[in-house]
Amino acid sequence: MSSTRRVTIAAGTLLLFSFVGSVLLLRQVDHLRTNATIEQVLFISSPRALKRMSLGYDGLLADIYWTRAVQYFGTAHHSTGNYELLYPLLNIATVLDPHLVPAYEFGANFVGPKPPNGAGQPEKAIALTEFGIRNNLNEWRLYYNLGFIHYTEMKNYSAAADAFARGSEVPGAHPFLRILAAQMAQHAGESDTARMLWTTTYQASQDPSIRANAVAHLRALRVDDEVTKLESTISLYRQKTGRSPSNFAELARAGLIGGVPLDPLGRPYNLTADGKLEVRSPDDLPFIQKGMPAGYVPPKRPKLLPSD
């Protein structure tokens, strides 16, 4: 074997081993520095400074920050449940590119809600969305998002009505906006209004996280409605027979229901011995207000993302 060939083989082998070694070592380093990326983000927290530093290539930088915001949310959701940096990341992304509409939508859905469903910063979510509206006057979805935050987080129904009404005047706006503006005045706290809101959220967004969140809320509303109705049925049965039903078959025999009622996931509801209704897997139905088994403690991390 010639010396050149020997050197080639040795160097090639060494290169391969060095590469594998560096990858393994870097993985160890990553374990030691779990918050390194977050610290980097905080290092330059001023969106204006970043815009200057981008040398005019702010569009690409905005896309990078938007992607990081989504990844940060996913990572935090699966680990700490603390979304403290979600707003700063979205703020940077939207100042760099004020027309980045998906970032505003994400902020409206996940900056406002209380932990563990969001960052618990509704004022910042409103500020972000209003910034979005100022820069995208013809995006009806942003007015909708603003009304949505006022409705769900602030319970400020007049502000929500105002946002929906303004949004309904934008050309091409979803027809629900006009109805929602009217609903706010008289039926703000009713489940039909909430259902309409979450349905619009689902239809208006392509973001899988936002849609999964909307589906989880719609399922919860359905459970709450069904449990309320079934409780009325059980109460009626009690009035007729003077005792609680021990199973659904008795209610069916009495002609009050058609069969065993199923929750939105297709699992039968559980009727306890004392006539209480419960869902069988409450972990899969986050946000429900009714039908929770006695003593049930919700998980720290609700199942609201497609990856859950």
């Binding site: 040398l55 569009g59 690409l60 905005a62 990844q71 392509q206």
Partner: protein, 258 residues
Amino acid sequence: MNGRIFQIASNTFREAVRDRVLYNLIAFALLMSGAAVLVGQISIDIERLVVINLGLTAISLFGTVIAIFVGIGLVSKEIDKRTLYTVLSRPVQRWEFIVGKFLGLAGTLTVNTFFMAIGVFASLLYVSHRLHRADGWVLAALYFIILQFLITTALALLFSSFSSPLMSAVFAFSLFVIGSFAEDLRGFAAMTGGLTKWLATGAAYLVPNFSALNVISSVAHQQPVSGHLILYNTAYAVVYSAMVLCGGILIFQHRNLK
């Protein structure tokens, strides 16, 4: 075009190709194909936006780096290799040499941009499955990027005509950065008064305004580029490049090459 200028320009183009300048296309192709495949998995609802922003930013940065690092060597390399004396011993004027070099590198960058543009549109087609009418505005952004290259090439040549390659690179890159802040400089001038205002205003108009040539973000959002902007930017880039080239010619004309 003057035959001698054309000869110098085509030699500059051939030399750039021989120097493997167009190899950057491989890196660009890898970047765009990687981005097109990955973008759908890491971004939400903005795949098209990312491809345009990434593609045009990469074209602009790759081209600027080539314009600076090839441009700064266009004159000094000829002096070092002593080929300049052979050229100038023929019936070639010094200004023809500078203009020929400028056109040669500008041509190289245009060809480079053309191939990269094909890569951007191919990636766009991959992520969007079809091209939209508004994607045509990407061509306007690409045209502005070429105009930006004309100015950068002229600047690199200007510095190359009297300075060492290292210092030329520093000067050219500094002007590229300052040119990206040109509008801030003008804003700063508006806030001051007296002599400072005059100096700041003068500096703001003296440095190239690259920010006016950057419409990447707008076209990524399918916003149209006005015909007037295209017209004025074209005129600005031509006039500014001519001004810088004239400066380079003046210096080179009086430079003692012995």
